[in-house]
Symmetry: C2
DNA sequence: CGTCCCATAGTTGCATGCTACTGTTGCATG
DNA sequence: CATGCAACAGTAGCATGCAACTATGGGACG
C-alpha cells in the first residue's frame, strides 16, 4: 500500500475523530508534518478526498474540511433507502452459510461491544457491508460505503445518543433473521425500516428535512 | 481549472474515444508527453481515474486502462434503474419552466444532431443530468454521471448501432412530456422503461446477464 | 539444448525547488 | 479618521531529481 493511500485513510479518520475540524483550512505542509509525509502524497490524498466531498481544495489557500449539514443527511438517507433494501433483497438469494455466519459474527460483536462506540460503529459497518457485497454489485457496495463515510462526521455523535443500542441491535437482528430464512420481501422490509428509522432520528429536529426525505420514499 | 483536472478529463475522453486502449499499460511519462504535462499532474489524474475504476494503477508498471465487461453493464444498469426513476419522480415536482426549457433544448439537440454520435451522446448525457440535478440530490446526480462514464467504453459502440435513433428520441420525449405535465408516476415509469430498454439491448446477447439484472428489478 | 541468474531498462512513488497567485497587514495619503 | 495601496508571507500547482522496485532478456552453466 502506498503512502498516498495511507494518508487518504489517515486524514479521513482524523476528520471522523474530529482531530481535523470542519470549516478549518489546512495546508499540505501542515498535514504532511502531522502525518509524516511530504507535500506530494498529502496533495494526492487531498485530491481524492475532495472527489469524495470530504474536503474542498481552495487554490493557493489550502484544503478546507467540509462538515455535513442536514441536507447532506437527507441526501445520503435517500440514497441508502433507494439502494440498500433492493441490495438486501438480492443478497438474500445469494448468501450461503458462510455469509450467514459472518453476518452473525458481526451481530455478536455488536452485542458484546455495545458499550464501545468505535467498535459498535465498525460492527455496524461490517454488517451492512457483508450484505451489500453479497448482492454481487460491487459498485453499489462501494457507493454505500462512501456515503457512510461522508456522513459519519455528523452521524457519529448523533446516532448512539439518540437511540437505544438495544433497538439498533434488534433491527439488525430482524434483518439477519429474514435473510437467513431466505425471505426476500421480509429482509427488504426490515432493511428499509432500519434505514428509515435511523435517518428519521438524524433529522428528527428538522421538519422540512423530513418533508424532503419523504419525497423520495413514496413508491 | 488546474492541469490535473484537465488531464483527468482528457484521459477519460481519450479512453472513451478509444485512443487509449483497454488492457494496455501506459506510463505516466508517456501520457505526460501525449497531453503536454509532467508526470505529477498525470499521476494525480490517474489516481482519481483509478478511484473511478477507469484505470488500475500497477505499482512500478504503469496504469492499465480497464474495459467494462458484461457484468459491469449489469451493475451499472441495476444501479441506474434503482436511482434514476426515483430521481425523476422527485424532479418532476421540483422542475420549473426554466428546467423544462433546458430539457427541451437538450431534446432538440438530440433531434438535430442525431447523425453525430458524439453530439448525440452529449445531448443524452445533458438530458439525464438536467433531471438528476433537478431532483436536488447532488450526490445522486454525481454518482449516476460517474456510472455513465464507466460504461461508455462498452456502450458507445453498442448503443447507436443496436437501436434506432428515433426510438431513443421517442423514449426521451415521453419522459419530457410526463415531466412537463407534472405527472410523477408517468415520468417515473417512462424513465424506468427507457433505462430497462437501453440496458436490455446492451446485454441482449447474454441470457445469464439478463437473469442477473432481473433479480434487481422485481419490486 | 534447456535452465538459472544477473544485469539492465523502465517504472512508480516520494521529496523538493520554483513560480505564480492570494489574502492580509501596515503604511501612506486624502 | 477613513481609504487606497503596496509589500509581504504563505500557499498550491507543476517540474524534476532520486531511490526502490519489477519484468525481462541475454549469457553462463549444467
Amino acid at each position: 500500500m502506498t503512502k498516498s493511500d495511507r494518508l487518504a485513510i489517515a486524514i479521513r479518520d482524523a476528520i471522523r475523530r474530529g482531530e481535523l475540524i470542519s470549516g478549518v483550512l489546512y495546508s499540505a505542509q501542515e498535514l504532511g508534518e502531522r502525518f509524516g509525509a511530504s507535500r506530494t502524497p498529502v496533495r494526492e490524498a487531498l485530491l481524492r478526498l475532495a472527489d469524495a466531498n470530504l474536503v474542498k481544495i481552495e487554490r493557493n489557500r489550502g484544503a478546507r474540511v467540509l462538515g455535513s449539514d442536514i441536507h447532506d443527511v437527507v441526501e445520503v438517507g435517500a440514497l441508502r433507502l433507494l439502494l440498500e433494501p433492493a441490495a438486501t433483497r438480492v443478497a438474500t438469494l445469494r448468501m450461503g452459510e458462510a455469509d450467514h455466519a459472518r453476518l452473525h459474527a458481526a451481530l455478536d460483536r455488536m452485542r458484546e461491544l455495545s458499550d464501545e462506540p468505535d467498535a459498535m460503529f465498525a460492527a455496524d459497518r461490517d454488517f451492512h457491508d457483508i450484505i451489500l457485497r453479497a448482492s454481487g454489485n460491487r459498485r453499489l457496495a462501494d457507493m454505500v460505503a462512501g456515503l457512510r463515510e461522508t456522513v459519519v462526521l455528523h452521524g457519529r455523535t448523533t446516532v448512539p445518543a439518540a437511540r437505544a443500542v438495544a433497538q439498533v441491535i434488534a433491527e439488525h437482528t430482524a434483518i439477519a433473521t429474514a435473510i437467513v430464512a431466505g425471505d426476500q420481501a421480509a429482509a427488504e422490509r426490515a432493511m428499509r425500516h432500519h434505514l428509515a428509522t435511523t435517518t428519521g432520528l438524524l433529522i428528527a429536529d428538522d421538519p422540512s428535512a423530513g418533508h424532503d426525505l419523504a419525497a423520495w420514499l413514496e413508491p
